[in-house]
Point group: C3
Chain length 108, copies 3
């Protein structure tokens, strides 16, 4: 059981494009990801609403994925940003992580 | 489209003071943040309850914000801690991130 | 009020074993942790469902804890992985954080 360096890529954006983002990252070979619902916030387009009481309007999601290759992580970040974040509110960031069993989550 | 170094500041505390924390960080010039609901946990004050079934009592929230300046990130951490975490359960931490479009989320 | 280096250990797995994981990390001396519900995702065992409408079947949770000792953080990661992640879907990763008031959350 080995610890390996990897990148955790985090995408926080409008829930309306959740399935688009998932399709995009899967098309880039990403096998594993985690989605957080019940997320709200504020960016430069004003208040971004979460799922608490607003029935589907303006919900946010956080999508995160662990990627073993730094180059691929940056490519995913740029693709998401270029394809969606000109028209939708959102932020994309990455952080260094140490991970066990990464072979399950990114075939690279 | 450029990747920049920044700090992700994470505040996990009682939902009762969510709006106080938001007001505080906004007063320090923070333009963008994300809030996670449905969070529970345990610290040194015993079990911190989440929103699952306890109707508003003792809920927790996670508030995170990306800040381009390390100095400002530390200032936010200290202010939150000094003003609220003597009287409320909580933890504040920061991690290094690489971010796209940070200009949207922290004018510094 | 001092900033200290620590490890944030994140465990994302099936909600069915939430209490098992909590018992395990507490038995290793972990005093503080945060749990996120409403989490879903996909790994190498196919779609992992979250709490949105599937009433208890296949829900995921994210459990995170700040640990001051790197050695202990790795021990927690390995124990969780060895004891549970052969039979349950999940991922375990750690990242470097700077934390205030860590004395509240990990007595080491």
């Amino acid at each position: 059981m080995e610890l390996k360096n990897a990148k955790l890529v985090v995408i926080i954006t409008e829930a309306a494009i959740e399935s688009n983002i998932i399709s995009l990252i899967k098309s880039m070979g990403i096998k594993g990801y985690t989605i957080y619902h019940g997320v709200t916030g504020e960016g430069d387009r004003g208040v971004r609403f979460g799922s608490g009481g607003l029935g589907g309007f303006g919900e946010n999601v956080r999508i995160e994925t662990v990627i073993s290759s730094e180059e691929k992580a940056e490519k995913v970040m740029r693709e998401v940003c270029e394809q969606y974040l000109n028209n939708y509110a959102g932020i994309v960031y990455a952080t260094d992580v140490r991970v066990i069993r990464i072979e399950k989550f990114s075939k690279k």
